[in-house]
């Protein structure tokens, strides 16, 4: 996530490659995430930084920028080169202008967010993340650069890497123990020399029911209150720890084997799926669960590709059978091959219940050049984005929008927590043609033409003259040959399959004649051999 307020000309910690791109395309704020896998909200709570499956890009442009559509399409191309990712596919067919779901997270002029035409959002659920994307991401980190003259500017670059591990599965003994060596194959031996602060935080919330010991001892244990919940972190100040020990292999030891029990799901979580059968119609349904004992208001945003033609009148929001009327609806229908269907709803989730949003669509026929090379895999639909404000911070370690580091969240005095969820992306099959058919048709048609036309041509254009075999003088060899070929000659002359056999038969007759030294002009075939 990059927040850029002023034009930056001097680069000390901020990477120049990215800075150049941002100034050229007049970007105010940019959020780019790339994800592999699905985050299980109901089992794991909320991630520190929420991201859509695949690649997701959200950009605000500077107030003075003009022709934003062109800037957007040039920007996604530049970013695709920078991050080795196919972000150039984020064209007008998959880009939307969200109205309420997103707000600038950084410094912006008052009233900026109301001019929502300056924002663009797009997602590519199919985009994979691999080492080739991490290589350029790693190169953006400042720790390889040399120190140079500093110039003040209001630029923030936030890079987050989120990984999920499962110790009881990877350990052979069923215990939840983990350490740096097993997880990252190395211990932490240095910190970035340019960093003003470098810390490790270990969330001790689970120690209440499954206690564990940390080695080495943390610098301090912080207990603080956040939105009404007590949070406890073990803090390691790396400047101190590395100064004393040189390297740290943080280890958590549990006394016994993991005790499995029912997991309490977080306050709000959702699941989204495709309904219907066949290749003509279908539907999308999203279930949002609210386990809190109070109603909360939610903003729900969906982007559906143009080839799933949505019926707006089929939109239904219900809770236990009762229809819920949304407070606000923002719907922009899609246009074939130029823009997707965009839906934003603001409605209330009733306490301790599940609300269901459903839509139905018709599947379109694509032109045969529009299918991807692996067309039978299906087509991906972006995940839905759900934004809400929670009155509790249970299961939540995310940093708030007005903070930058985890330490800021310790001093967070707000009474509410902003939450953003992304649902799963969907995979939908479209009616797909058999791509080998043009080849099959060409082969079949050519074969039929060659056989039928060829034969008819031969029959109609050759002149046949009757030969009287008894009037020809033959030698002994030719007599034997004629006996052998006699029956096959008759068959061949009857068959229409090819002029070739006829001419072959004629040729052998010719040879007989010539061997006879008979210069009789009884050669009957006028045509050339086929």
């Amino acid at each position: 996530m990059i927040l850029l307020h002023f034009l930056v000309q001097h680069y000390r910690l901020f990477p120049k490659s990215l800075g150049d791109v941002l100034t050229t395309y007049q970007v105010q704020e940019l959020h780019l995430s790339q994800t592999q896998g699905v985050w299980r909200y109901d089992k794991w709570g909320y991630p520190p930084e929420d991201a859509a499956p695949g690649a997701e890009l959200l950009v605000w442009f500077l107030p003075q920028a003009s022709n934003i559509d062109k800037l957007w399409s040039d920007l996604v191309n530049a970013l695709s080169g920078l991050f080795c990712s196919s972000l150039n596919f984020m064209d007008s067919k998959s880009t939307v202008i969200p109205r309420w779901t997103f707000r600038p997270a950084g410094l912006a002029d008052e009233g900026y967010s109301l001019q929502s035409a300056r924002v663009r959002y797009s997602a590519l659920p199919k985009e994979i993340v691999c080492t080739e994307n991490l290589t350029p991401w790693k190169k953006l980190l400042p720790c390889n650069s040399k120190d140079s003259e500093c110039k003040s500017s209001a630029v923030e670059l936030k890079q987050t890497l989120t990984l999920v591990y499962d110790p009881p599965t990877t350990n052979r003994n069923g215990k939840q123990d983990w350490n740096f060596r097993n997880t990252y194959s190395t211990s932490l031996s240095s910190q970035c020399p340019l960093a003003s602060s470098s810390k490790i935080f270990v969330d001790m919330e689970s120690a209440n029911f499954a206690p564990f010991t940390l080695k080495p001892e943390p610098t301090r244990i912080e207990t603080f209150r956040r939105v009404g919940e007590i949070k406890k972190y073990a803090v390691y100040d790396l400047k101190e720890v590395l100064g004393k020990q040189g390297k740290i292999d943080l280890t958590a030891l549990y006394p016994g084997v993991m005790q499995f029990s029912d997991i309490v799901p977080p306050p709000v979580y959702a699941s989204r799926y495709v309904t219907g059968y066949g290749l003509e119609k279908g539907g999308i349904t999203c279930q949002i669960h609210n386990t809190l004992s109070e109603n909360i208001t939610v903003i729900y945003m969906e982007t559906i590709p143009w080839f799933l033609r949505v019926y707006f009148n089929s939109l239904k929001v219900e809770n236990n059978g009762a229809t819920i009327k949304p407070f606000k609806i923002h719907y922009i229908p899609g246009k074939d091959r130029s823009q997707p269907y965009q839906l934003e709803l603001v409605f209330r989730l009733r306490a301790q219940s599940t609300t269901k949003i459903s839509l139905s669509f018709d599947r379109a026929f694509l032109k045969w050049t529009e299918y991807p090379p692996d067309a039978n895999h299906g087509f991906y639909v972006n995940s839905a984005v759900i934004s809400t404000i929670l009155p509790t911070s249970v299961n939540n370690t995310a940093v708030q929008q007005h903070g930058s580091t985890i330490e800021d969240s310790m001093n967070d005095q707000s009474e509410q927590l902003f939450l953003r969820l992304h649902t799963e992306s969907l995979l939908v099959s479209l009616p797909t043609p058999d791509f080998s058919m043009p080849y099959n048709v060409i082969c079949l048609a050519c074969t039929v033409v060659a056989i039928a036309f060829g034969s008819i041509h031969n029959l109609t254009t050759r002149r046949f003259q009757a030969l009287d075999p008894s009037k020809q003088k033959k030698g002994i060899l030719s007599k034997i040959k004629s006996k052998l070929f006699k029956s096959s000659n008759l068959e061949n002359s009857k068959s229409d399959s090819s002029g070739k056999t006829e001419s072959e038969a004629d040729k052998s007759n010719q040879k007989d004649d010539l061997k006879d030294d008979n210069k009789d002009d009884k050669i009957s075939n006028d045509t050339e051999p086929s």
Binding site: Q36, N77, C84, N88, V129, C130, E132, T135, P373
Partner: protein, 309 residues
């Protein structure tokens, strides 16, 4: 002032007459069972990088993701050998065109330089008339064509025309074309531009075969020609004196089963005298001096000296 003796040394250093190296490495196959094609192209990528061509001068096109494929039991790696010694994917890989971007159109646009203005630098082949370009292609091919991602083909005529466009636009000094597919020889038979040296893993009428299966991964991991080519390249260091002639003789028939075909008629130099690093490496002939040299301001007429062209 440069002395006459120094001038002779300078001439020797610039004998090869190319000043920069580029590589365009293309894997055209999609799907998990074509793992070996991705391993092929990454093997050549690894060699080029090791011998000095920087990422900014390599255009790597990989049609599908094998390393982070959910079917890969060794995530984040691509091996070219069942004993899994070399991870050709590595830690520092930059793929320029991936997935659906690997198309015939993009490939020809990269070669000819006719890209849209918004294409970033890392996706452009910015070669000039002093560049030596290495073009490596692998995938499934047939007589006269190479299949791109099961959806389209590039024919040998199109490829020859693309190289001719490159020659007309002075986008290469010398070009080395390597192809590892079935009936690979057919792909270079139509070339007509000068300064091209080509090698193919099989003659027309022959199939190139894969080398071996890794039972732990479950697919063929490398093709024969590229396997032996990589084995040869692993013995080459940036300062090596190995020649292109030796490289063209890699993988004789008893190893490759198919016959390696070469085309040298368009290439003016004798391959046995051309160093391997002319195409695979990016060797700068730099002599480091500890003494200072005083240079006077000299006005030079335009047609003075052969190497001022």
């Amino acid at each position: 002032m440069l002395k006459a003796a120094d001038r002779v040394n300078v001439e020797e250093h610039f004998q090869s007459s190319h000043t920069n190296n580029w590589a365009v490495l293309v894997d055209t196959s999609r799907f998990w069972f074509n793992y070996r094609h991705v391993a092929n192209v990454l093997s050549v990528y690894r060699s080029c990088k090791r011998l000095g061509i920087p990422d900014s001068h390599i255009i790597l096109m990989v049609a599908d993701d094998m390393a982070c494929n959910p079917r890969n039991p060794r995530p984040g790696t691509v091996f070219n050998n069942a004993n899994e010694q070399i991870n050709v994917y590595g830690d520092d890989v930059e793929v320029d065109y991936r997935g659906y971007e690997v198309t015939v159109e993009n490939f020809i646009r990269v070669l000819t330089g006719r890209l849209s203005p918004s294409t970033p630098r890392s996706k452009r082949l910015l070669s000039d008339e002093h560049s030596n370009v290495l073009v490596y292609m692998t995938g499934h091919g047939g007589e006269g064509f190479l299949k791109f991602q099961d959806a389209e083909e590039i024919s040998n005529v199109e490829l020859a025309d693309a190289f001719e466009q490159m020659w007309q636009k002075q986008r290469y000094h010398e070009l080395f074309y390597m192809i590892d597919t079935c009936q690979a020889e057919s792909m270079f038979q139509k070339f007509y531009s000068p300064n091209i040296l080509a090698v193919a893993s099989s003659k027309v009428g022959e199939d190139s075969l894969s080398h071996h299966v890794d039972p732990k991964i479950g697919v063929y991991v490398i093709d024969r020609y590229t396997y032996f080519a990589l084995e040869f390249l692993e013995t080459v260091e940036p300062g090596s004196r190995k020649t292109m002639g030796q490289f063209l003789r890699v993988c004789p028939k008893h190893q490759c089963i198919s016959t390696v075909a070469i085309r040298t008629d368009l290439f003016p130099r004798d391959p046995d005298k051309v160093p391997l690093t002319d195409f695979f490496g990016s060797v700068r002939n730099v002599e480091i001096l500890t003494s200072t040299i005083q240079l006077d301001n000299v006005t030079v007429a335009r047609d003075d000296g052969e190497y001022c062209r």
